[in-house]
Symmetry: C2
Subunit: 230 residues, 2 copies
């Protein structure tokens, strides 16, 4: 029974990878760089985007957002105030909803995004530290947000998520003074599962560290293209 | 294709319910009341248990814990300091791990728990606000923990989770003074998806509200038996 299950999971992930490659081809043709943004629920993904995407146009990067949620369009409504193209993708289908985006869901939303008018697409995944890391969607880079209120042990408990990403944002550092949180211990746990991965300490609330994150995003299309040209 | 998928999901949930009923029969025979404890990653489930289970034996309730994690035994190690029976269940199987416990996983762990020596079993689920709510494990009651650092919108974004439980613990209220968090708005959102559900404001860190939670747990075996006798 276990072997059957493994084969089914492999088939699902193989099928997903095939569609992810098709997404990637479409993104490449449109010259759109794609970020898959992941975190636990409530880690501050949307608020970070509100801060970091504002001002990106002045840097010559036209951004768009694809919002993934089980239900509702609360985050998309917030981000549409930035006057960026925002599309909503809901994963509910009568069973409580899927806990992650997959390549096919993203593919179904491509028609609602003006790919020809943007340089950078940020896909905000469903809040979850497990399954989103298993499903590629055709992205160039994966970013995860963990907040200091979640505790220092999360890289050890959800290692695939922390291993899967190119950048880790440690959010809510404005609360550090009010917590018994050892940032060095978090970073040591991070290095234990993903040695040397890029990391930034940020506060979406105060804006601390957000300039560096905006710089990272602004430079991503050029970095991606120069890697592709090698 | 959508119809096929729906049927597969229904079959999976039907099979799960059958095993959950078998678990339930075993728990009933052993006169063990079972709680399924759920939350997002880092909401404070383990720390709440450290506080609330300590002192339960003096109330005449012998508790045990089944710890569900993708990987590792960090929480089980913490809870074993309480000198309670603690068993670890890991969901990793080479694909990054399952994002929830199901009835079969719990069934596989029953042999490692001294059911004859406990009155209350708390099953700490994998941190996730989606799939754990879809899989019954044979429990009498479901409790979810949300923390004030996650924002007021979570009941609207993850409605099945908030609807599935008999008690909602709003944790980390010691941080309220340092957040722009509107507790009334959270509770209104909670009532929008699960009107009138039991709720308690707690702080696992300071202990505020934990006595009321311990009372709720201590009374659960009697409440469960009197309901079963009706």
């Amino acid at each position: 029974m276990h072997r059957t299950k493994v084969r089914v999971v492999e088939d699902v992930l193989d099928a997903n990878d095939t569609i992810a490659r098709a997404n990637r081809d479409d993104f490449d043709r449109a010259r759109v760089t794609v970020v898959n943004l992941m975190s636990a629920p409530g880690a501050g993904k949307t608020r970070l985007l509100e801060r970091a995407l504002d001002g990106l146009a002045e840097r010559g990067v036209r951004a768009g957002v694809l919002e993934g949620d089980v239900q509702g369009s609360y985050d998309a409504d917030r981000l549409s105030l930035l006057h960026l193209p925002v599309a909503q993708l809901n994963t509910d289908n009568g069973f409580g909803g899927e806990c992650h985006l997959d390549a096919n869901m993203v593919r179904s939303a491509l028609g609602s995004l003006p790919l020809g008018d943007i340089d950078l697409l940020v896909v905000e995944n469903v809040g979850n530290l497990v399954c989103p890391a298993e499903f590629r969607i055709g992205e160039d880079a994966r970013i995860m947000v963990c907040s200091v209120t979640e505790g220092e042990d999360k890289p050890l408990k959800y290692p695939l998520m922390f291993r899967a990403c190119e950048l880790v944002l440690v959010n809510k550092i404005d609360l550090l003074a009010h917590l018994e949180f050892d940032a060095d211990r978090l970073l040591a746990n991070l290095d234990a599962v993903h040695p040397g991965v890029d990391r930034m300490l940020v506060s979406a609330r105060t804006g601390e560290g957000v300039d560096a994150f905006r710089d990272w995003l602004a430079g991503l299309p050029d970095r991606t293209r120069s890697e592709a040209a090698v």
